[in-house]
Amino acid sequence: MSYFISGEKEDWEVVIGLEVHAQVVSDSKLFSDASTEFGAKPNTQVSLVDSAMPGMLPVINKVCIKQAVRTGLGLNSKINLHSVFERKNYFYPDLPQGYQISQYLQPIVGEGIVTLEMSGEIREIGVERLHLEQDAGKSIHDQDPRNTLIDLNRAGVALMEIVSKPDLRSPQEAGAYMRKLRAIMRYLGTCDGNMEEGSLRCDANVSVRPKSTSELRTRAEIKNINSVRFVEDAIEYEAKRQVDIYDSGGTVNQETRLYDSDKGETRSMRSKEEAHDYRYFPDPDLLPIDLSTEFVDEIRKGLPELPDAKKLRFVGEMGLSEGDAEILVSEKEIADYFEDLSVGRDPKLSANWVIHELFARLKKDDLNIDNSPVKADRLGSLLDLIEDKTITNQIATSVLETMWTSAEDPVAIVEKKGLQQITDTGQIDSAVEKVILENTDQVSQYKDGNEKVLGWLVGQVMKTTQGKADAKSVNEILRKKMDSG
């Protein structure tokens, strides 16, 4: 599905590259032993190293190295056995060292590929690199009328910067790429992907070019976007802004822009002329990272099944539709739930119940699958009742509703309420006869060839049996009786 912006004279293509900053899942920071836990009181998770006291030295947290390699492997990327930490020098109060320790010329992970499926079309998005770097602290400007306050809890927390190639061609693709990266890292357990807590942020490099051309034009960089929707909105706005500029004969400036989600627009932050000279150089306090192939192979062996492979299996082995499989693998928690549920059960029935019944019910209460009041094993018991024909699908929906607020077992609920399916055809027969007698008008309409009314009549029978009759049997019996009568 191609995305073009119509300009005055021609259609324009959008070219997007994303730099995603993903917080590494680790107990302590990249170069210090301070905790990384979110939400602590300001400046309570700050070591002497994080606050850059004189004479303090960074020591690499090996867990972060492992996590970066794991992520690199998950992104089908080349792992660089030799990589180097460098210093990126600039002054800011929430950067205590006066430099950020990052990787520049020699990152730990090289080129890779992320596969997206956009309305059935497979798109391969190139990953340029992944490197490790320190997060900065937080400057708080709105709590004191005269002073800026600094919270260093985040300072030194490990980030992975994942840089894509300029392969994305629409805001939706950029959004899908973000979601995919997030899913992969959550499967790997290398980033929790929590965008509200700032664990996943991105900078978007956006440029446009006439559809007929292939040269890259000047790009603008939109900084620090913290939700998938904002990524899409910001790119859409920015691309249109650039097309308008070209249409009115202007030129796009290479600059850094901010996205204002309240106003839905991007604003200039600083131009290229004001850009920093970061004076990168290898950090002499740290040795280069030299990994052995054994170390990388060991991590490779421990990789979990990732979304793409899982989807293939769901479709190939379980016979699910592409669409259902895509939904089920989109989040690790959903996939886990589904897999727990579908053990020894009909995969299609399981998928249906997760995607339709469970999701609808979760949505109603604004819940996620991992805090669902009905866990996979209980939902499984309910599906067993459907499969052995104890209850109808319709009844099962109402049992789920009861289960939502009660810890009771579905079997017990069904028994207590007498919701077992009516299997006695005599009972169904009499219900059908009663409906035929009471609705002569509709019956004659049916006999005159109006098939639509059949559904209404089935509904009436279901009503009298309180939904406990099997709709398919009711249908058949109704039809038979009216056709013969």
């Binding site: 002497l48 606050s51 850059a52 006291m53 004189p54 004479g55 303090m56 030295l57 960074p58 020591v59 690499i60 210093r87 020098n89 002054f91 109060p93 205590p96 060292q97 006066g98 430099y99 800026t148 600094i150 000279d277 004076r279 990168y280 150089f281 950090d283 002499p284 306090d285 740290l286 040795l287």
Partner: protein, 493 residues
């Protein structure tokens, strides 16, 4: 003999035999420090802490539990080692009032070994200087002088440490050497200065100047003392990623009194035009003495030596420009208020740093800048590799190198001030070993014609401090330098 004129090994033996207590030893030194304030060797004196530590040392000894060779010994600590609860300034205005809540690994090791810190010694600001004239706390005087009424510089950057040891204010001092900051002042003050292999001493808690070069080491009165004190300073420290896990030998045990068959290299490139003839003479004398002790003399060449100094003055400032970025007035030390953030930075750093520090920050910033990085910093790193290769090649053939420590003797305070390049020449013989991270030791070689001390330098391959001490001890005995700083007689210290 007064207690202050002792050596570490002498005091160690007498403490052990009970001739005097550590408390007596410390008291004597504290009063000498008081008497010699005009040297300006200390930024902070810590007599109460020292007496407390001395009494504890005596109590330990009474129980028969000494902590080693440094137990009860009075030492100075260069003011760039962070000392818990004691003002630490790096001789800079920008660290005004900075009292660290932590103890550097090296000073902590010394304390664990029972050494008694009597104060924090003066130095060039952030260890940048070769004359101890850039200190915010004023210049340090060399206890050596002539009859011309001019005070001499003690060398730098560890000028306070060297002056203190040479004037008998302490028996040893923990200092640091980046391009010669231990060895050059040792040479100027007529004492022993030793820089171990890069990585032997942890840099944790030591205010950084140039991370890839900074290395702690001792300043003492004798080679043996240096071996004893170094033993107490070194450790493998997991808090410093560049700290070496190499096995630590017993350094004093390396002093065997025998260097027969030892191959001593004489590098021709150290014979430079800036060097005075008397230095040349001193050097030749050193060669003769080692030969007579049974060493084999080998002429060698280190072809890239001439690039060491210019290369050093690219790499060291580059690292410093980044290392000193943390002194921004935000979290500790001096803050000079400004109208906005940038103004505050400028006011704080403008007032907080001295001229030489600013010069090096500017040089360092320049050589790392976009467009200059390749031509300066990257090139310098490549040259550094060549210098290291030179040494590697040489140490296949010889065990130790003998060179002068400095191209001239201590100069009067106020001279060589206008031309930084003249000042930088001080380090010309000490910088190559620093660039290669090699252990190196300076010991008094004799007096200049005018009567000022001159040092000879020994260099060995990495982690071979033992040969350095072994050879240094012999050379020391052969030279038999028995002169005392005139100041000692004058003041009676």
């Amino acid at each position: 003999m007064t207690l202050t004129s002792l050596t570490i090994s002498g005091a160690r033996d007498k403490l052990q035999s009970g001739e005097f207590s550590s408390e007596e030893l410390i008291k004597e030194h504290i009063s000498t420090v008081e008497k010699c304030k005009n040297l300006n060797a200390f930024i902070t004196s810590t007599p109460e802490i020292a007496l407390d530590l001395a009494r504890k040392s005596d109590a330990r000894r009474a129980r028969g539990e000494t902590l080693g060779g440094m137990d009860g010994i009075p030492i100075g600590i260069k003011d760039l080692f962070c000392t818990e609860g004691v003002l630490t300034t790096a001789a800079s205005h920008i660290l005004d009032g900075f009292i660290p809540p932590y103890e550097s690994t090296v000073s902590g090791n010394l304390r664990s070994g029972g050494a008694v810190m009597i104060g924090k010694t003066n130095m060039d600001e952030f260890a940048m200087g070769s004359a101890n004239i850039t200190s915010h706390y004023g210049p340090v005087k060399n206890p050596w002088y002539l009859n011309d009424g001019k005070d001499r510089v003690p060398g730098g950057s560890s000028g306070g440490s060297a002056s203190a040891v040479a004037a008998n204010l302490c028996l040893g001092a923990a200092a640091s050497d980046t391009g010669g900051s231990i060895r050059q002042p040792a040479s100027f003050c007529g004492i022993v200065g030793m820089k171990p292999t890069y990585g032997r001493c942890s840099r944790w808690g030591m205010v950084a100047f140039s991370s890839s070069l900074d290395q702690a080491g001792p300043l003492t009165k004798t080679v043996r003392d240096a071996s004893i004190m170094l033993q107490s300073m070194v450790s493998h420290d997991p808090k410093d990623s560049t700290s070496s896990p190499e096995v630590i030998p017993n350094f004093e045990a390396a002093i065997t009194g025998d260097i027969r068959g030892l191959k001593v290299g004489i590098p021709e490139e150290y014979r430079i035009s800036e060097m005075s003839p008397e230095i040349d003479k001193l050097w030749s004398k050193g060669v003769e003495l080692l030969k007579s002790a049974g060493a084999e003399i080998v002429d060698v060449s280190l072809p890239h030596t001439k690039y060491a100094l210019p290369t050093y003055y690219i790499i060291a400032p580059a690292e410093a420009s980044s290392n000193l970025a943390r002194y921004d007035g935000v979290r500790y030390g001096l803050r000079v208020d400004g109208s906005d953030l940038n103004d505050m930075y400028e006011a704080t750093r403008g007032e907080g740093f001295g001229k030489e520090v600013k010069r090096r920050i500017m040089i360092g910033t320049y050589v790392l800048s976009a467009g200059y990085y390749d031509a300066y910093y990257l090139k310098a790193q490549k040259v550094r590799s060549l210098i290291i290769q030179d040494f590697n090649d040489i140490f296949d053939r010889v065990d130790v190198l003998l060179t002068p420590t400095t191209p001239f003797a201590a100069f009067p305070i106020g001279e060589k001030m206008d031309d930084p390049v003249q000042m930088y020449i001080n380090d010309i013989f000490t910088v190559p070993a620093s660039m290669a991270g090699l252990p190196s030791l300076s010991l008094p070689g004799g007096l200049s014609d005018e009567g000022l001390p001159l040092g000879l330098q020994l260099i060995t391959k990495a982690f071979d401090e033992e040969t350095l001490f072994q050879c240094g001890d012999i050379l020391e005995k052969q030279i038999n330098f028995s002169h005392q700083a005139p100041y000692i007689e004058e003041i009676g210290s």
